[in-house]
Amino acid sequence: MSPLSQLRMEMRENRRSSARGLWRGAPRKLGTPQFLLSAVLLVVLAVFVIVPVGTIAVDTFVWQAGDVRLSREAQPGALTLFHWQRVFRSPLTGHLLTTPLVNSILVGVGTAALSLALGGLLAWFVVRTDMPFRRVAGALAVVPYMIPSYTLALAWLTLFKNQRIGGTAGLFQYLTGVAPPDWVAYGFFPTVIVLALHYYPFVFLLISNALASVDTSLEESAEVLGAPRSLVLRRITLPVILPAVLSGTILTFSRAIGAFGTPYFLGSPVRFFTLPTMIYSNIGMRFPSTANILVLVLIVLSTILIFVSQKMVGVRRSFVTISGKGFRHKPVELGRWKYPALAITGSVILFAAVLPFIMFFWQSVMEYAGTYSFSNFTSAFWLAPAGTRLTEGEPGLLRNPEVLRAAWNSVRLSATAALVAAVLGSLIGYVVVKGRGTVISKAIEQVSFLPYLIPSIAFGAIYLNVFIRPWGPIPALYGTFLLLVLTCAFRNLPFAARSGVSTMIQVSGELEEAAQTLGAGWFYRFRRVVFPLTIRGMIVGFSLVFMTTMRELSLIILLVTPQTRTLTTMTMRYQEQGFVQFANAITVVLVVMSVIGVWAIRKLGGQSGGS
């Protein structure tokens, strides 16, 4: 037996297997805390996830009020197969389902692949190498996700647009005199690039978290034993970060197939339509049943992906990296690749975060929108007192009490929702991993992911309809701040749950078992052993939910009250009135608050995590 295969054997032994038997004979263990916790989580998920999804499914078989516009036979409230026939077997099928579905899958696969490459590479540079400015790069690498993706799409058009959609030619044509072909300017290609630049932070966060918890001595041992770098990467590093890679793939793929704004913005000039286009337009026209069928198609698509990934992790199992033994990090020396690495990282961050942010700020200090000169500078939209002519009487953003209250609401909502989601996500990660292989574990994992695939506006509408009246022991939550929190927490739960699962997979069971042997109760174990070990994963989940909620608009628009309105609800107002400057200024404020929020939670988490 070669030393290398011996090492592999050791790692295999390290795999989690201890908990597996425990769950096979579930009835025996009815009273265990894990089982009770699973049961409680299932009930919570049933109320807040299964009921909404069930509502969607049931609705597709019922004539809706607006359907009389589609068919003379419609009798609102009665059962029908009309909607399914319309989507699957009608002259419209190709336009409504097939072509958009194929386009969506292409966009999803392309975005996931590119995000994986970008996010993985950046994570490795930041966590495992001696690249200069690693810390700064690590902090900035997630900023692209805080910047609305449509601005990147706009930036793309500014650069590459040709005469197809009118207006002035793009910068590229201006400089080179060559008009970019349509496929560069519009459709699939730019959509994938823009979406990947926006969503790679998911992959970055998950993989850097995984890499940070890996004991580098595993890799070093392999190298000492003479394994070439490629083999080390393939046989040690990759398997160890596989759960994070899969989680990242699932998150980016699902978000990309469900994304509306960017694909629509870049695709519609060449009539490149994806499923979300059809979903959003059917919701907008109030044909919810058609929209819901297409949502179910998205759900099936992602469920297949999750199933396949569960099989992959299940078959290859996973490797425990957070064990009871201490470990250390030894950075890989990049040598002459140091600066190319920095250049790659720098340019991604520059184009996806820094430049768009500067553009926003610049556009918020222009007297006339679109005129980029210093004589056009004004600070009125930030600082003017009420009654200024230029702002048509509106006070500057920083002097407007309504804006300040909305900003506070945004922070309050994002932080609370993120906290709820992060805690739930960790618990879900715990029971899913402890029970890996059992039906209940699979069910919880699948169900907790469903909200991710429902379009925001549909999710908001369902919560409105379900929680507007008392529901069993739950009072009518309509009009309360709590409902906003629950909506945002459950809609974004998948971030926290994915992060919880991929972190928990890395935690060795031996630590908890040791505590158990020493007589520690379950709550004590969870609080003192499991929780501190997974705090990093919780921070990832918290950050993702926080950043997402900060920008949330269509999810909560049906549920906010004037007292709970958030900053995003105000951008709509300024955009409609043509105040590009105010709208941009609000985006600047949102990004700054997101950065501060994520930085703060890292500091806080870093202290309580102790490592």
Binding site: V68, G166, A369
Partner: protein, 387 residues
């Protein structure tokens, strides 16, 4: 007879105005004041409503327009003690929210103010979820089709626009021009499946199929031959326009920015909201104007309606707010935020905003809520199949 009745009305108004006018500076005793108050005459017509509204203390409005915050502020200043809870969201979202509230018996909205009258009438008005309220003192100032079944607050137009930097006058003069080869790929319009008021526009074009056919004959000098399976000239226009590489964009400002951007050699033309002309004040570089000479019409109207919600918790405050929104005879009060370029008041006594032609001088098509409602799905499907 008719003339006489109008005469009486004018007289009554004059007297009414006189009473209000006098009451301002009059010294009247307590008994008279009580009587005026009791019979709601003179200054107390409004004041009584205010008193009742004051007891209610607040009013909740769901508005499609964010300018709700502007007229809410002036309302609160004019009627101290009544707080306006203003929600701004899309018309579709208002429908969803009101339907959910009514079905659950959670009555929280008082007033709704939104586009898409076809859906409002069919989904909210007919089932009795909302009711019409016409402030009594302006009823005679509203044409019947702007007060029944629901009060129309103002209207807007969707029109064809062209670039004024390159063209001295509009290069298109007939709606069928955008189907000509020289405009291939050079006509922009918002996606009706996303900016859904354009379904109303398309429906109105379909409804006026005869005029569309006549316009074709005028433009091409020969009668229109419909494509196989196409029902009428309106649908034929949609089909040929899409077939001619029309560029579908997301919203009205995408159209006006593309058409109006300076420095273009061969700028496109487009269909967009008249009110986009306002953007030129905020961005003077934009160079576009409305093709006023378009045939058969320069554009299509769309309406914005206002109504009181069933079991509104603050009905009197709701009435007072609607009265405020309809403004005075100069387009002031609560109407002021809408007395601007691109909107036209429905009150016949209010002049069009300065610099804008009066509605009577413009040739446009009215929308017909029933027709829009009945043909909505058909038009959506036709569009989806042909785009």
């Amino acid at each position: 007879m008719r003339v006489k009745r109008v005469g009486c009305m004018v007289l009554a108004l004059l007297i009414g105005g006189l009473v209000i006018g006098l009451a301002e500076g009059q010294k009247i005793d307590e008994a008279t004041r009580a009587w005026l108050q009791q019979v709601k005459v003179g200054p107390y017509q409004e004041a009584t409503l205010y008193e009742l509204a004051l007891a209610e203390g607040e009013v909740t409005i769901y508005s499609y327009s964010s300018r709700v915050h502007n007229f809410a502020a002036t309302f609160e200043a004019r009627y101290p003690g009544i707080k306006v809870n203003a929600f701004d969201m899309d018309s579709g979202e208002i429908l969803t929210k009101v339907l959910a509230e009514q079905r659950a018996g959670r009555f929280s909205a008082d007033v709704i103010y939104l586009k898409d009258p076809a859906a409002v009438i069919a989904e909210l008005y007919e089932p009795g979820y909302v009711f019409n309220y016409i402030p009594p003192d302006i009823k005679h100032l509203l044409p019947p089709h702007y007060r029944e079944p629901l009060l129309v607050h103002h209207i807007s137009l969707d029109v064809f626009i062209y670039n004024t930097e390159v063209y001295d006058s509009s290069p298109i003069t007939n709606i069928w021009d955008v189907t000509r080869p020289e405009w291939r790929g050079k006509f922009l319009m918002p996606d009706p499946l996303v900016t859904t008021e354009y379904i109303e526009v398309l429906a109105t074009i379909v409804q006026n199929a005869d005029a569309m056919a006549a316009a074709y004959a005028e433009a091409f000098g020969e009668p229109l031959v419909l494509s196989p399976g196409v029902e009428n000239a309106g649908y034929e226009w949609i089909k040929r326009m899409l077939g001619n590489g029309a560029v579908i964009v997301r919203s009205t400002d995408d159209v006006s920015n593309a058409v109006g951007a300076p420095g273009q050699v061969a700028p496109p033309v487009g269909l967009t909201a008249f009110s986009r002309l306002r953007d030129k004040e905020k961005n003077p570089q934009l160079a576009f104007d409305v093709a006023y000479g378009m045939g058969p019409v320069l554009g299509v109207e769309h309406q914005v309606v206002v109504a009181i919600v069933n079991r509104a918790p603050h009905p009197n405050a709701a009435k007072l707010l609607i009265q405020w929104m309809m403004g005075d005879d100069r387009g002031g009060w609560g109407y002021a935020p809408y007395h601007v370029f691109g909107n036209w008041p429905t009150r016949v006594d209010v002049p069009a905003p300065s610099g804008v032609p009066a509605l009577a001088e413009l040739a446009y098509w009215n929308t017909d809520a029933d027709f829009v409602w009945d043909n909505y799905g058909k038009i959506v499907d036709f569009w989806t199949l042909n785009r």
